[in-house]
């Protein structure tokens, strides 16, 4: 028995596991690129447990890694030799404050559970991620972006207040007005400065029905112009798009024949409406120039919010959920987006659709106040992501090409979104955060002086 086990277990309300009780999931995250084994896995029951854990880790020189649904793909949500904290055990949802339209939640709450709870009252968080099977604490630590981000920014921009347990074991209540340094450190802070134990989330009223227009584009530049027009029109509640390959057979690439594709761009534009008052289709689509208008879908808003559930279910059923997921997502400047997308997709095999996809999301550079969610300058931005599922045996030949995709994105002026596979050097990290990096280093020293929280990803240890 581990000599620290009994002391740790006796001090917590929650449960403590040792390696003999670990599952494969405890050793990896959704990326399945790294396999780390912690010394303990803890399922905390309360904020008090988190305080106790942090102090225990400080005392015994252990690193502490917290995880939500472990959807990250780099060295996050996994721990090597320390304590892995499964935050999903803290999943309480408080009562909605109808006056301020806010709700207090614990960090392990799944967005799907929260969405269902709120839908009964006709309320919804302003921004939801495509995958609702992730946790509030997880996405707030990353930024959290979705198909309404062009209107409301990131999920982190819609937090009113949080409780954060710092790396010293202190509980700090923070907001954009009070203890704002820690608040904006924790939002998109990758768990580097504290453990979020409560978040008060801003909500909005939603209409019960949605109408979605399934448009298709064959030219990325026309699509982007229409996407900008749609964002600026103020007519739409949700905008979602992809790259969709149409396989064309094989052609030589660097002398070897490979399957290639003509890429199309599905663009789904959604508006919420009250039953009996559907939108005027002609007015909604006026001025847009799609290659084709494929389908118009009416469904309850809650069903729209869960539209990706069948896709993820299929990935799980097909087995690709267990593949490696070295996702490469970025936010591009508007000016270079079309060129970058065209260059990257020209080399992207259509097989990426097997258990994965290519995401595009039109975005505004002015909707997020987050200090850690780095985006290029500009009023209009384009999110772009290659989200492959890679069989483990192909990793050797795929990894270099994906790293080159990331490098190319950066040369086109992009900022990486950090939930995916990010293999930056310390210098590239500094470049990513720019002037913010020195502030992050100062925050780390102030709130986690022993560097026990979530080590292994951001290179604080490489900064003297």
């Amino acid at each position: 028995m581990d000599p620290l086990y009994e002391t740790l277990a006796a001090s917590l309300q929650g449960t403590v596991r040792t390696p003999d009780a670990f599952t494969a999931e405890h050793r990896e995250n959704y990326g399945r690129i790294f396999r780390w084994t912690p010394r303990f896995v803890v399922q905390p029951q309360s904020q008090r447990d988190i305080v106790t854990l942090v102090r225990f880790c400080r005392e015994h020189g252990l690193h502490l890694t917290n995880r939500g649904a472990a959807h990250s793909q780099s060295q996050l949500a996994i721990n090597h030799g320390g304590v892995l904290v499964e935050m999903q055990s803290m999943h309480a949802i408080g009562a909605v404050d109808e006056k301020s339209l806010t709700v207090d939640v614990e960090p392990g709450v799944l967005w799907s559970d929260l969405t269902h709870r709120l839908a009964k009252s006709g309320l919804v968080p302003p921004v939801l991620t495509n995958n609702l099977g992730v946790t509030v604490g997880g996405t707030l630590s990353m930024a959290g972006i979705g198909v309404a981000s062009f209107r409301y920014g990131s999920q982190g921009d819609n937090v009113v207040e949080m409780d954060v347990v710092t790396g010293e074991g202190s509980v700090v209540t923070c907001s954009p007005e009070t203890n704002d340094e820690l608040f904006w450190g924790a939002i998109a802070g990758l768990g580097s400065f504290g453990v979020i134990t409560r978040a008060r989330l801003q909500l909005r009223r939603m209409k019960p029905m949605t109408r979605t227009y399934y448009l298709l584009y064959d030219d990325v530049r026309v699509f982007l112009e229409d996407a900008r027009s749609a964002m600026d029109s103020g007519k739409w509640d949700h905008l979602e798009s992809w790259g969709a390959p149409c396989a064309q057979g094989t052609r030589p690439v660097a002398g070897e024949r490979q399957v290639f594709a003509k890429w199309f761009y599905p663009f789904h534009l959604t508006i919420e409406y009250d039953a009996g008052s559907p939108p005027d289709d002609a007015a909604m689509l006026a001025g847009l120039r799609p290659y084709d208008n494929l389908y118009t879908d009416d469904c309850p808003t809650i069903e729209f919010l869960e539209r990706m559930v069948p896709v993820f279910a299929l990935w799980k059923k097909a087995g690709t959920w267990e593949f490696m997921h070295p996702w490469i997502e970025c936010i591009l400047p508007w000016e270079t987006a079309a060129d970058c997308i065209e260059q990257v997709l020209a080399d992207t095999p259509p097989g990426i659709q097997l258990g994965g996809h290519v995401l595009l999301w039109p975005a505004k550079g002015t909707t997020s106040r987050s200090k850690n969610f780095m985006v290029p300058a500009g009023d209009n931005l384009v999110g772009f992501g290659l989200l492959p599922a890679v069989p483990q045996k192909f990793w050797g030949e795929v990894s270099e090409r994906l790293e080159n995709v990331s490098r190319m994105m950066l040369l086109f002026g992009a900022k990486r979104y950090l939930s995916g596979w990010v293999n930056f050097t310390p210098e590239e990290w500094k470049e990513h955060f720019g002037a913010r990096w020195h502030e992050l280093v100062a925050l780390k020293r102030r709130y986690d002086p022993d560097s026990i929280l979530n080590p292994g990803f951001l290179p604080f240890e490489a900064t003297p």
Binding site: P252, A254, Q343
Partner: protein, 141 residues
């Protein structure tokens, strides 16, 4: 039969390979359209190459008008330059290293408008592929 690297026969073979390559013709169809697409490939001296060599390749819209080794490491008619030690070139031409990796990591230096080069990645990849396909005898240490 192997061609000796650095000879005019090697340069001529590269030009011929470019002009019969459907990969190059398609990938580079817009290369040099509205800009100077001529490229100077510089092979810096290293343990196996006593003297730095430079190959001037005249390229426009998917075809090659000629290739020849030239003195010095610059050329007044070159729109772009790709420069690296011969050891890096050997790794690229033997497919040990992707040309894109060499360029994107800075192992191969780019001269000229980097953004234009980025917008035509398939063109320079096909150029390198044609060179890689030549049966080349490199100098040995």
């Amino acid at each position: 039969m192997s061609l000796t690297f650095g000879t005019e026969a090697w340069a001529a073979a590269l030009a011929a390979a470019l002009n019969v390559s459907s990969e190059y013709r398609n990938a580079a169809a817009k290369w040099g359209d509205g800009f100077n697409g001529n490229v100077l490939l510089v092979f810096d001296a290293d343990a196996t190459l006593g003297t730095t060599r430079a190959l001037f390749v005249e390229l426009t819209k998917g075809s090659c008008r000629g290739a020849s080794f030239v003195p010095g490491v610059s050329h007044p008619d070159a729109g772009f330059g790709l420069r690296a030690p011969l050891s890096v070139w050997r790794d690229v031409l033997s497919r040990k290293t992707l040309a894109a990796t060499a360029i994107l990591t800075g192992k191969m230096k780019v001269e000229g408008d980097r953004m234009t080069l980025l917008k035509h990645t398939a063109a320079h990849r096909a150029l390198v592929a044609c060179a890689a396909a030549l049966d080349t005898e490199f100098p040995s240490a």
